[in-house]
């Protein structure tokens, strides 16, 4: 065998040995990355500091997620949160908790990757929630699913804020046609602050209410009231 061939074989053998030595750590790194499975949105959220203000106090808040026993209804869950006295920041803390503190995957109403970019509160009681585009792209498709997503936001705001009367949802600062292909985002969603809600209309803490009020001059008769889902 020529001398050059022997040298080449020796070099290749050394390289193969080195590869064998480094392979386990490389494998561990790849598996670790896969386990982390963090999207860009989650990574972005990780470096965003938690929303906190000097006026934060530990409070019990009612958050609305899907019922574990009835996936087409929402159920109120009491969660302890640091909440601001400032209504805009309080709303942001609440919606962020709605995304991040979901008790289980089956109860989730908003995509895990969704980020509330900003919440504005107008003097007339209109809240404007500006979400990342993942709300639109990652939300499960379907009228029921999208209805539950918006309803969970609306009812969480209503249960924990007294001065938000309607909600507008934006995606990256722009008005979107639909949430995920079904629910119309061109208008406002009515919010009923809990303190002012009529018990008969809401069915208590876990009762259902329609997403939006009917026009005042087209109100249905009592027997034709919009569905109060069971």
């Amino acid at each position: 065998m020529p001398r050059l061939s022997k040298i080449a074989i020796a070099v290749l053998a050394v390289l193969a040995f080195a590869a064998l030595l480094t392979f386990p750590s490389l494998l561990r790194t790849v598996l670790g990355l896969r386990r982390a499975d963090r999207s860009a949105e989650q990574a972005r959220r990780a470096i965003v500091p938690p929303i906190s203000t000097p006026s934060d106090t530990r409070e019990k808040a009612q958050l609305f997620w899907l019922s574990p026993t009835s996936p087409d209804t929402l159920e109120a869950t009491t969660v302890e949160l640091d909440l601001s006295a400032d209504a805009e920041k309080r709303a942001k803390q609440l919606i962020t908790a709605l995304i991040e503190k979901t008790p289980s995957q089956t109860q989730r109403t908003l995509p895990a990757d969704a980020v509330l970019l900003q919440f504005y509160l107008m003097p007339d009681g209109t809240g404007i929630a500006d979400f990342s585009e993942t709300l639109e792209t990652e939300a499960p498709s379907g009228i029921l699913n999208e209805e539950m997503a918006v309803d969970s936001i609306v009812r969480t705001l209503g249960a924990n804020l007294s001065n938000v009367y309607r909600l507008k949802i934006l995606i990256r600062g722009q008005e979107a046609d639909t949430l995920a292909g079904h629910l119309d985002l061109s208008g406002f969603f009515n919010v009923t602050p809990q303190a002012q809600a009529q018990p008969a209309a809401t069915g208590g803490a876990t009762g259902e209410q329609p997403l939006a009020a009917n026009p005042s001059n087209a109100s249905p008769s009592p027997e034709q009231q919009p569905a109060i889902r069971n």
Binding site: D72, S141, I143, L211
Partner: protein, 228 residues
């Protein structure tokens, strides 16, 4: 004049809609539903149109345009949800979110006052033009009536479904100047496609029976303006 029923199998083309664990696409399932419903409706000598016959994806406005030029027609959009109790069905009719600007009294926390001038939902007269973007305003009451009829029949065939229809701003319905509803069945989250196939016939029968009983509150012959 013969009633025309426009059946709208949602999604299509690159828009599959909801996807099942085995790759089952909502767009295919609802097309089968629409074909079954067409047979049931044509048996009643009704004229039936589908917004898509194959795997196309007409826009919301293109689907609306199919019915907005017709007199004496109703629109039924068919969907399958991503999740929800299997074997249940829900009927939706459009509800316009309030255009009323709330007047907040920060000291008393008073509920919002309504401004009559801004109150929405007025039924236009037969001669008025209808805004394309809010064409459904002309038919909210008839749509609600149709939705109640359909849900009443559906709940007999799909146990555990809600007793009454649901008011929700479903985008497709907003631009339709005729009685319009959406029906959504649960759910695409099945491993055996036969479970959804089995829903096609009872759904078709329910639609056929409800449509036979439906008598619109008042037919509008106006054509929406400002189509885009």
């Amino acid at each position: 004049m013969t009633l025309t029923v426009v059946l709208d199998p949602a999604h299509g083309g690159a828009d599959f809609g909801a996807r099942g664990p085995t790759g089952l696409a909502e767009s295919d399932v609802v097309l089968d539903f629409a074909r079954a419903a067409r047979i049931a409706l044509e048996a009643q000598r009704l004229r039936v149109l589908l917004t898509r016959e194959g795997n196309q994806d007409p826009t919301f406005d293109a689907r609306s345009a199919m019915i907005n030029g017709l007199a004496n027609a109703i629109f039924i959009s068919l969907h399958v949800s991503s999740s929800g109790p299997l074997g249940t069905a829900r009927t939706y009719y459009y509800v316009f979110p309030s255009n009323v600007t709330p007047a907040v009294n920060p000291t008393a926390g008073a509920p919002p006052q309504t401004a009559r001038a801004q109150a929405s939902g007025a039924q236009p007269t037969r001669t008025s033009l209808i805004q394309w973007d809010e064409a459904q305003r002309s038919s909210v009451d008839s749509s609600r009536q149709l939705a109640f009829l359909v849900q009443t029949v559906l709940v007999q065939r799909f146990k555990d479904s809600p007793d009454a229809p649901i008011a929700a701003p479903v985008r497709q319905l907003r631009t339709i100047a005729a009685p319009a509803i959406a029906i959504e069945l649960s759910s695409i989250d099945v491993t055996d496609a036969k479970r959804l196939d089995q829903m096609a016939q009872p759904l078709a029968e329910a639609i056929g029976r409800a449509v036979a009983e439906f008598h619109p509150l008042g037919a509008s012959t106006t054509t929406p303006s400002g189509a885009h």
